[in-house]
Symmetry: C2
Subunit: 230 residues, 2 copies
């Protein structure tokens, strides 16, 4: 099954349309990823300008979702795609929902950064934000690359990475609770870090979803909710 060759249709226009949704998905993914990276920097460096930039960029990501969705629906209505083309279009409509929500989570982190700047800096907890943020950003990058290249091995690796992120998230949360108990004055600040970590963990979940669409696209089977080891 050669799924990378979407350029073999007789209709040249149809080929262009299919290439376009992949290209636009990739652009939207790049935008969402920039938002995530900038949100992490905004939080760790207390960079308000960057944080406000992330919040503003969310509108662009949202409008990209709407326009790619319309492109997909147009293709479904006019071209009546079959087999791997149909799976591609469906996978793209799903992927853009996850990318849009990644943008939402990045905005939440940016808003935490803005909220925290008014309360001074909390050195504790940033190590975790940096670390988990780095992992999640890498997952997102890899899942987008896996989508672009239809690289199933890379996609499966992202699914694995999500488990690591979930474990590290749990550990970080326990440490932060201990820290709050030792120093109750830090509660508000530590809570902000916890919300940010939770947003990062959710971004990891969305990146895992993206990777699973790649597996679905290539293998033609639904791998959500099934055990990867099987």
């Amino acid at each position: 099954m050669d799924i990378t060759s979407h350029t073999h249709h007789i209709s040249q226009q149809y080929n262009i349309e299919l290439d376009d949704i992949r290209k636009h998905l990739s652009e939207m993914g790049g935008m969402a990823q920039r938002q995530v990276n900038d949100a992490i920097i905004a939080l760790v460096d207390a960079d308000i300008t960057k944080a406000e930039q992330v919040v503003r960029a969310d509108k662009t990501v949202n409008s990209m979702e709407v326009s790619i969705d319309e492109e997909c629906i147009r293709i479904l209505a006019r071209r009546q795609p079959a087999a791997s083309d149909l799976r591609l279009v469906i996978a793209v409509t799903k992927a853009i929902t996850d990318l849009e929500r990644i943008g939402d989570e990045a905005s939440k982190i940016a808003r935490q950064a803005i909220a925290m700047s008014s309360e001074g800096l909390a050195p504790r907890g940033y190590v975790e934000v940096r670390h988990i943020g780095g992992l999640v950003s890498r997952m997102l990058q890899d899942s987008l690359d896996a989508f672009a290249r239809l690289d199933i091995e890379m996609a499966e690796n992202v699914v694995q990475m999500d488990r690591t992120v979930d474990l590290e998230y749990g550990t970080a949360m326990r440490e932060l609770v201990t820290f709050m108990m030792e120093d109750p004055r830090s509660i508000t600040r530590v809570l902000n870090i916890m919300w940010s970590l939770r947003a990062l963990e959710r971004i990891g979940d969305h990146a895992r979803n993206l990777a699973q669409y790649v597996i679905y696209l290539v293998k033609g089977e639904d791998v959500r909710h099934t055990d990867l080891d099987k």
Copy 2:
């Protein structure tokens, strides 16, 4: 535009297929809603048996998502639906993703209930869980009803309710932070309540998404990310 009359196709089988995905969506919605209500009861009454039931039920919701998704893809591939039928199928594929995530959030609340039972009860915070839980459960009910009846007014009302939930969530969080600061020994318990409230708030977001698909389905336009007042 008569969108409720999906039973006007020459192919009797096609009519049945379209009715089926709506029926199955409604069943999956009912299941997700039961999970949410049971999770709230499990938390408020520290009912471990119910909590474990909710966690187990998540598998059923997950497998419903996969099977309805397959039905939708089959219809897209074989029937090549147009206009309102196409919008219906697309709306259903999106709605099931939200329902599946509602199930995930309900499971999280149930897991908090299990975790909390080992730490004794925290009377503070349950008022908020009960109150916000009630609102969110109502939103979910209404959005599912709106989907079944294609009732746009009801759908718009759900979108409005989501703003109320967001506001009440913010108020509850601030109160809980104050409470933690007054009594640092309560931190772990109050955090568990906070996670549960956050899960409820996200369930509200998903219910709002469902309502927006109804508006999209009936009006044929994308209302996500646009101001409702416009």
